[in-house]
Amino acid sequence: MPFVMLAGGIVLLVFLSFISLTQGIAKLSPSTVMQALFAPQDVPEHRFINGVRLPRTVIGLLSGAALAVAGALMQSVTRNPLASETTLGINAGAFLVVVVGTIFWPGLLHQYAFLFAIIGGVAAALAVFGMGGGRKGTPVRIALSGMIVTLVLSSITSALMMLFEQDTQGLFLWGSGSLNQNDWSGVHFAWPWISCGLLAVLFAVRHLDLLAFGDESAQSLGLNSSTIRMFAMGAGIVLACVSVSIVGPIGFIGLLAPHIVKLSGMRRHIWLLPISAVWGAAILVGADTIARGFVNSAIGELPAGAVTAFIGAPWIIWLALKASKHSAGGAIEGRTSMYVGTFSRRLPYWLLVLVSLILLVAVCVTALMSGTLRLSASEVIQTLFGQGTALHTKIIWDLRLPRLLTAAVVGIALAASGSLMQSAVRNPLADPQIVGVSSGAGVGAMLLLIVFPQLPVGWVPVGAFIGGIAAAVIVYSAAWRRGLNPTVLTLVGIAVAASGSALINILVIYAKLTLAPALAWLAGSTYARSWPDFWRVLPFIVILLPIGWWLGRRVDLLAFNDESSKGLGLSVRWTRLLVALLSVLLASAAVAAVGAVGFIGLLAPHAARMLVGSNHRRVLLLSCLLGAILLVAGDWAGRMILSPREIPSGIMVALIGAPYLVFLMVQARSAK
């Protein structure tokens, strides 16, 4: 069997590599390719193949192999079938640091791109690992942490690319994973690292096998498991980062290839690693062949990363459904609990609400006072009561107040949505984004911009709203047969969100110049929001929040596992669906108004739960207040820091949230 897999992979690999050489602006015949390879002459076709296409195919082979082995190593080390360079945030971290390098130290970056990538990759992996509870973290928890870290890092990346539009315009294609090569220098750099890395891990295969039995059995066999773990994880990260620094972040190879090999029953690393490498190389070259095939179409050349995400996402959905079948409902996540820890000295609830209210008012007043034109508190109050000067009136009533109120209602909607979603999928790290609302909304908005360029931009929120709901519908219908099991929902949601992001990248590349508006939307921005935006979001809050409140005890009961909830006479599936519906509607309305502001849906309810315990109604109210405070403060800070340049509020929220991530990590560590 191993030989069949190996031989099959190699045949596929040779075939795809050959096809890939014929693809490009000029379609070349197989016989030309053969001639170019074995009897090269100084003719243009042969220069195409030997000068540009061959290095591109070879770098595809190297990267594919590196990513596949990195994925397999990470899965073995963490004993988590979902671990890979994408899900551990390594891609996003490496890309962010490279973007920072391009902007601030371009000379240094061109020389040491690999170092930049590895710093970012390692930092992101550590963050995800720490947040997910380290080695004791369940697969779902690690996957969620990876998604959160990825979202935060990508929103910072988008914002930087928007602020430094002229410096970074070239990075977008690479940032979605492009195998495009100038000459052989990429290959010359990468092959020693990748081949040494692969060889090194091949010497450790027997020890890696033992890791599967768990620490104790490994120790009894006289093995220092933590050394091996460090070594394997380090090798995996280096392999992934070499690849990122040359071809950009390419997702899903590290999941796809090892799982195809494991499906054929192979578990021993001596076979698993080399066969994964062959299959990973074949998949990446195949994806790039498809990507190159689009070069003469209206879409233009695609980044290979977009194609792999597209192939990979359905695979993860299938994997999630399969995993849940085998483990009879949620066992792979172990026991999840909504308990997030509380402060030892808990303040009375009414005091917390009061303090939050005062804080909200204070933030609002500060926001109304500050800006290009500084107003005193009394001037603000006068203007609010219609006594201000013409300029003050214009600035307060037309600019600051509508923007502030929109930020506030969107903050409330996102926080409430997160609070409800966490209850619905019974996971304290959940967020409306995990059912694909944000990326679905992004796809909807982009499609509307591109397919109907004649429509006024006022229609974009409609497209976003429909897209957000559509993504959630896809996730829910896929998970319906498993009784909306929280684990399945989460995994399917992650897959749909990832393919949504890939689709957004394709659409942004296709739309070319509209990159800046697209990036503004992707980072999430409350810029120039006015009364109509406020009025569009408000009804959702006024109608849906009371329903969420009214559900009260029923939501609390969802926190128990399904069997005990049923025992309490609760139709679990329907309640879960209703709660999720409320959450999706709120999130879609919010995202349609301001774009993909992330993090509030996670942070506000999480903090609220820590402050007041698990009572649904209390958590709901307090998280709404915290959500409003967060987005209003983020919007205010974004206006002020680089004035007159504006920083999108999405990135400000992410920056405020980053320390919270660190806090979560510390907490996850101490909770063990």
Partner: protein, 351 residues
């Protein structure tokens, strides 16, 4: 406190909050519209009186003009005093007309990318990024006119228009709906009309025509007239060079056609923005043309020197590579057109 009481009080607090928010909102909407209208007409009236006092004769000759732009029509009376420009091309247009704008977006990067007809005065206010210009900074300048571009500023048009009358232009007509060069000239004239500088605009365009005629005779004298070119805007995309190749509908390509040169690059389909983004392989079909490029990145040449496809191209072997400099703005106005033509002639004739 018992559970029930707590629950009840909570509910009251929350519903009060909702009522408060909605009340705030609804009352504010009515007041805001009426007040801003009042405020707007007030400011406009005051500037007008100032102006009539200052130059009564001039204002009399300039009646109200209806200025057409892509999002509608705007009546403008008199000469707008303070103009805020949100896209570089239109700032260049104003400077070409001899007007210093009150505010411009992203001045620092504009100076790097656009060769300007006259120096931008030091007291011109930077109003933030082109994509998200700071509305308050603009409002604080109390402008009489704002000029923006459709693909960036359409979404917040109402907000800009509430600050001052706003003109929006679209330099990228859809297929069959116009021509980028004609659009550039028309927009320049429209801006001049809005600014009360129509006569100056005619002079600038006449000067541009003269540059074209000079260029033609210089090219003819050097035996370079009627040559085929490919216009490229390359940049380094991390590990390879990516080219924006100007298509036949592209503004910069149209400018070079004004002096009798021919664009050798044909795109497979219509490109709304006037360029195709492509790799080095695309240059094979135009290797007999003259390669003209605009780039600020010095790494481009280094990287291409190592590229086997590039070094095999005819125009590379025959060293027919012509650089226009990084600040020749291919999306600009009449002055940018003049710069492109002058530098192209200089490069092609070697003078």
């Amino acid at each position: 406190m018992s559970y029930v009481v707590r629950k009840a009080s909570l509910f009251i607090v929350m519903s009060m909050l909702l009522v408060l928010v909605s009340a705030c909102g609804s009352s504010s909407k009515e007041t805001s519209t009426s007040e801003t209208n009042a405020a707007a007409s007030e400011t406009r009236a005051s500037t007008e009186t100032e102006k009539t006092d200052a130059s009564a004769a001039e204002a009399n000759t300039l009646e109200t003009r209806n200025i057409k732009h892509v999002l509608g029509e705007l009546p403008i009376t008199g000469v707008p005093n303070k103009i805020v420009v949100l896209e570089w091309t239109y700032a260049e247009d104003l400077l070409a007309l001899g007007i210093q704008p009150a505010g411009v977006a992203d001045i620092e990067n504009m100076k790097k990318n656009v060769a300007l007809p006259i120096e931008l005065s030091a007291d011109v206010q930077d109003v933030g990024t082109r994509q998200e210009p700071n509305l308050e900074t603009i409002a604080a300048l109390e402008p009489d006119l704002i000029i923006g571009v459709k693909f960036r500023h359409e979404a917040a048009y109402d907000q800009f228009n509430a600050i001052a009358p706003t003109l929006i232009f679209d330099p990228y007509p859809a297929e069959g709906q116009g021509d980028q060069y004609q659009e550039m000239v028309d927009t320049f004239k429209t801006i001049a009309d809005a600014a009360g500088k129509s006569a100056e605009a005619e002079a600038v365009l006449a000067d541009l025509q003269k540059s074209y005629d000079d260029a033609k005779s210089k090219l003819a004298a050097a035996g370079k007239d009627g040559r085929t070119f490919v216009l490229s805007m390359p940049w380094v995309d991390q590990n390879a060079v990516t080219f924006r190749l100007s298509t036949s509908n592209g503004l910069a390509s149209k400018v070079l056609e004004q002096i009798g040169l021919k664009n050798g690059y044909q795109s497979a389909q219509f490109e709304a923005y006037g360029f195709t983004t492509s790799g080095v392989e695309a240059l094979q079909s135009v290797q007999d043309a003259d390669y003209i490029n605009i780039t600020r990145e010095t790494e481009v040449a280094d990287m291409l020197g190592k590229n086997a496809v590039w070094t095999g191209l005819t125009f590379v072997k025959e060293n027919r590579l012509f650089a226009l400099g990084g600040d020749a703005w291919p999306y600009g106005g009449p002055h940018s057109a003049k710069i492109i033509v002058e530098r192209a002639v200089q490069a092609l004739t070697g003078q």
